[in-house]
C-alpha cells in the first residue's frame, strides 16, 4: 500500500494541474477567440444596457409583451429551479387548470400545453409559435396596433427544427419582445 501512496499523491497533483487548470484555461482562451459573445453569456444590450441573455428566459407581465412559459423559479436564474411535480400530483393538475383559466381570461383562447406547464430549467427562453400567435390580440390591443401587424412581427421570430427534424418550433420571447418594441414602438401603457 505504501508504495502506492506517493504516486497517488503526485499524480493527483499533476492531474489537478492538467485537467483543473491548464485544460479550462486553454478552453477559455480558445473559446474567447472562437465565440467571444457566447462565452460571456450571450448578453443582449439595448441602448448600451444589458437587458438579459438571449438564452435565458425572463418574466414579462405587461400585456403588451409576449408572455413566457410559467416558471417554477419565477425566472430567477440564481439558482435555477423546476417544479418536479409528478404527473399524478394533484398540485400539478390544479396548477395547470388555474393557468388554463388565466390564459383564457387574458387571451380569449385555449392555451397550448407549453403555456401552462413549467420548464425543467425555469428559464426556458422559448414558447411554441402557437402560444405566441394566440397572444397576438392581447398584444395588439395593448400596443394600439392591429393583430395583423403583431402577427407579422411574431412570424419573423419563429425558429424551426434543426435540419427540419430535431427539436421543436419555437419563438424566443426576449427577441420577439425587442422586435415588437422596435416595430410597433407605441410604449405600453403600464410601463412600470
Amino acid at each position: 500500500m505504501l508504495t502506492h501512496i506517493r504516486p497517488a499523491l503526485v499524480l493527483l497533483l499533476l492531474m489537478t494541474l492538467l485537467t483543473g487548470v491548464v485544460y479550462p484555461a486553454a478552453v477559455t482562451i480558445l473559446a474567447s477567440v472562437l465565440a467571444p459573445a457566447a462565452v460571456e453569456g450571450s448578453l443582449v444590450r439595448r441602448d448600451g444596457v444589458v437587458v438579459g441573455s438571449a438564452l435565458i428566459g425572463q418574466a414579462f407581465s405587461d400585456p403588451g409583451y409576449l408572455q413566457p412559459r410559467p416558471s417554477a423559479g419565477d425566472y430567477n436564474a440564481d439558482p435555477s429551479a423546476a417544479s418536479n411535480l409528478a404527473p399524478t400530483n394533484a398540485a400539478l393538475v390544479k396548477a395547470v387548470a388555474d393557468r388554463v383559466a388565466a390564459y383564457r381570461a387574458a387571451n380569449g383562447v385555449t392555451p397550448p400545453i407549453d403555456a401552462v406547464t413549467t420548464s425543467g430549467s425555469g428559464l426556458d427562453p422559448d414558447i411554441s409559435p402557437a402560444n405566441a400567435f394566440r397572444q397576438a390580440d392581447r398584444i395588439a390591443a395593448a400596443r394600439r396596433a392591429t393583430p395583423v401587424q403583431v402577427l407579422a412581427v411574431l412570424h419573423t421570430q419563429v425558429k424551426g427544427r434543426w435540419l427540419g427534424l430535431f427539436g421543436q418550433d419555437r419563438v424566443n420571447v426576449l427577441a420577439a419582445n425587442l422586435a415588437l418594441d422596435a416595430s410597433l414602438p407605441k410604449a405600453p401603457a403600464a410601463g412600470n
Partner: protein
C-alpha cells in the same frame, strides 16, 4: 415516423463515431500509438517521470486494486478539502460560503465514484474554483479510473495466461491524455460556439425590458460540461443541469451531448472485441446493449409524446421540459443518461410519465450495463456474461467457458458478490430510508410516486448514475451521508470482485474453441445475455417497482391524482 427517424439517425451517428474511437482506444492501451497521437507521448513520459512511477511493471489484481484505491482516497480527501475551504480559496467572485460537512462528503464521494449526484445547486453553492479544480478534475480521473478498471478486467478475460492485469498508473494516464482530454477540448469548443459560457467574470445583472433585475450566473461552464458528458459523470454546473439554457443552448448542443454520453461506453465494446482478437465478441455485447437501449427508449418517447391524461391537453408531456427539445429529444436524453450512468438531465425526470420513470429505474437497476458508465458498463456487462455463460453451461451440462477460459466456482461466486451490491444498495438501503422520518421528509410527491423517488435515488446512488427525481431532498444530512456510503458500495463492491474475477480468469489456460464450444457471438448468445440481464433485474426489483411506478401508472389510467 418522425421520432423513429431521429432515433435511427442518432444511433447511426453514434456507431459511426464509436467504431473508429474503439479501434483507437485499443491502440492506446496496447501502446501502439497512431502517428497523430505520438506528440502526446512526451507529456505521458513527463508525467511518469514526475510522478516517480519507476519501472511501471504490470501489476497483479491486488496491486492494481490497491493503486486504484490509493488514488481514489487521495482524490476524495482533496475534493472534500476544497469544498469545505472554498470560501478562502481563490476564484470565488460571488463570495459563496463552504458546503456543510454532510453535503461536502456526499459531493466528494459522488464525484470520486463517477456518480455525480447533485446534493447542491452549483450556481448558488459552489465557487468557480470548486467547480473547476475540484469537480472537473474528478470528472476526468473518475472516468479514467473506470476505463482503467475495464481495460484491466478485459485483459484478464482476453490476454495470455498471466498473473498480472497491467499497470493502473499507465492505464489511468493514457485514459486522460489520449482519450478524455482531446475529446473534451473538441466538445467544449463546439459547445462554446453553440452558446455555452466559458468565463471567469462572475454573475451579470441585467435590467429587463420591464425594469426588473435578473442575476445571470456564468462561469467556466463549457470546459466542465464537455467532460461531464464524455466521462458519464453528469454533475451539472447549474442546479437544473443540462435543462439550463447555458448548459444546453441549442438543439445541436443537445444532440452533441446526447452523443457524448454514449460515445465512450459504446466504443469500449469495440475495444473489447479488438482485445479479444475477435471483433464479433465486442459486437455481440454492443448489440445486446443496443437492443435493451432501444426498447427502453421506445417506451419513454411513446409515453412522453402521449402526454398526461389528467391535464386534457395535447402536445405531449411538457411539464419539466424545454420548448426547444420537446418530448422526443427529452426522451432520447432520458434513455441515454439512465442507461449510461451519466445522470445529467435535459428535462426533469420527476415529472416524466410513470412508465418512463419505470424504464429509467430499470436502466439503472440492472447495474448500469446498458452502455453503462465509461468502463463501468463494460465490466458490468462482463459480470452478466459470466452469469449467462454459467446458466448456459447448467442447461447443457458442460463446464461453462468464455473466450476459451473455464468459468468455475470462484468466478461465479465473485460475479454474484458483485451483483449483490446492487440489491443491497437499492432494496436494503431504500427500504431502510422509506421507514425513517428523514426519508419520508425527503419525499416531495404524494402517492406511489413518493416511493418511486426513494427507489430512484437509491438506484441512482448504487448504479453511480447521479440522475435524480430532483424533488427528492438529498441535502438532508442523514440522506447525504447514507447516500454517500451507498455510492461507495455501488462503486467499489463492484470493482473489487470484478478485478478479483479478472485476476482469476487471467491465471487460467486458454483452450482453443472446438465444435462443442458454446459460441458467444451469435444471436443465441445475445438473446441469452439480454434474458439474463432482464430476468435477474426483474426478479430482484419487480416487487419494489410494482409499488412505485407501476402503481402510479394504474392510478393514472384510473384518473386518480394524489
Amino acid at each position: 415516423m418522425h421520432i423513429l427517424l431521429i432515433d435511427a439517425l442518432y444511433i447511426t451517428v453514434l456507431l459511426a463515431l464509436a467504431w473508429p474511437l474503439g479501434v483507437y482506444m485499443h491502440q492506446v492501451y496496447e501502446g501502439d500509438f497512431p502517428r497523430f497521437a505520438r506528440p502526446i507521448r512526451g507529456v505521458e513520459n513527463w508525467l511518469c517521470r514526475a510522478g516517480g512511477l519507476g519501472t511501471l511493471k504490470p501489476q497483479g489484481w491486488q496491486a492494481y486494486a490497491l493503486a486504484m484505491l490509493a488514488f481514489n482516497v487521495a482524490g476524495f480527501v482533496l475534493l472534500y478539502a476544497i469544498l469545505r475551504l472554498q470560501a478562502v480559496l481563490p476564484l470565488n467572485p460571488d463570495h459563496i460560503p463552504p458546503l456543510s460537512p454532510a453535503v461536502a462528503f456526499n459531493t466528494a464521494v459522488s464525484f470520486v465514484t463517477n456518480t455525480n449526484w447533485q446534493a447542491y445547486s452549483g450556481e448558488a453553492q459552489l465557487s468557480q474554483f470548486s467547480q473547476m479544480v475540484g469537480l472537473t478534475v474528478q470528472n476526468f480521473v473518475s472516468a479514467a479510473t473506470g476505463m482503467a478498471i475495464a481495460i484491466a478486467v478485459v485483459r484478464g478475460f482476453t490476454g495470455p495466461k498471466s498473473t498480472t492485469l497491467g499497470n493502473f498508473w499507465v492505464d489511468l494516464i493514457r485514459s486522460v491524455l489520449y482519450i478524455l482530454l482531446p475529446l473534451s477540448i473538441l466538445l467544449a469548443l463546439w459547445l462554446a460556439i453553440q452558446g455555452v459560457p466559458q468565463s471567469f467574470h462572475g454573475a451579470v445583472t441585467a435590467t429587463t425590458l420591464e425594469g426588473a433585475h435578473q442575476v445571470i450566473p456564468t462561469g467556466p461552464v463549457a470546459s466542465q460540461l464537455a467532460i461531464k458528458q464524455l466521462g458519464t459523470n453528469g454533475g451539472g454546473y447549474f442546479g437544473v443541469n443540462a435543462a439550463h439554457p447555458f448548459e444546453n443552448p441549442t438543439i445541436l448542443s443537445d444532440l452533441l451531448q446526447t452523443l457524448a454520453i454514449l460515445l465512450i461506453p459504446a466504443a469500449l465494446c469495440i475495444t473489447f472485441g479488438r482485445m479479444a482478437r475477435d471483433a464479433r465478441q465486442g459486437r455481440a455485447l454492443l448489440i445486446a446493449m443496443l437492443l435493451m437501449f432501444v426498447a427502453g427508449l421506445a417506451v419513454i418517447q411513446w409515453q412522453e409524446s402521449l402526454g398526461n391524461p389528467l391535464l386534457h391537453l395535447a402536445g405531449g408531456n411538457m411539464e419539466g421540459k424545454e420548448q426547444r427539445f420537446g418530448p422526443a429529444l427529452s426522451g432520447l436524453w432520458a434513455a441515454a443518461t439512465t442507461a449510461a450512468s451519466n445522470g445529467s438531465v435535459n428535462a426533469m425526470h420527476d415529472s416524466f410519465m410513470p412508465l418512463s420513470g419505470l424504464v429509467m429505474l430499470v436502466n439503472m437497476q440492472v447495474g448500469e450495463v446498458i452502455f453503462g458508465g465509461v468502463g463501468a458498463g463494460l465490466y458490468g456487462i462482463l459480470l452478466y456474461v459470466v452469469l449467462a455463460v454459467f446458466l448456459a453451461g447448467l442447461m447443457v451440462g458442460r463446464t461453462p467457458e468464455y473466450l476459451g477460459r473455464k468459468i468455475e466456482r470462484r468466478e461465479v461466486t465473485l460475479a454474484m458478490l458483485a451483483f449483490l451490491a446492487m440489491a443491497v444498495g437499492i432494496l436494503v438501503a431504500g427500504a431502510a430510508v422509506t421507514v425513517l422520518p428523514a426519508g419520508k421528509a425527503a419525499i416531495s410527491n404524494p402517492g406511489p410516486h413518493g416511493l418511486s423517488q426513494i427507489l430512484y435515488a437509491y438506484s441512482s446512488f448504487t448504479g453511480n448514475n447521479g440522475s435524480a427525481f430532483a424533488g427528492f431532498n438529498a441535502a438532508d444530512p442523514l440522506e447525504a451521508v447514507l447516500g454517500g456510503v451507498i455510492m461507495l458500495l455501488g462503486r467499489f463492491a463492484m470493482i473489487l470482485p470484478m478485478l478479483a474475477l479478472a485476476g482469476s480468469m487471467a491465471r487460467k489456460v486458454r483452450s482453443e474453441a472446438t465444435a462443442g464450444t458454446f459460441p458467444t457471438h451469435g444471436p443465441l448468445f445475445i438473446t441469452l445475455l439480454v434474458g439474463t440481464v432482464v430476468l435477474l433485474g426483474a426478479l430482484t426489483f419487480f416487487p419494489a417497482l410494482a409499488l412505485g411506478p407501476i402503481a402510479e401508472q394504474v392510478s393514472l389510467v384510473a384518473g386518480q391524482s394524489f
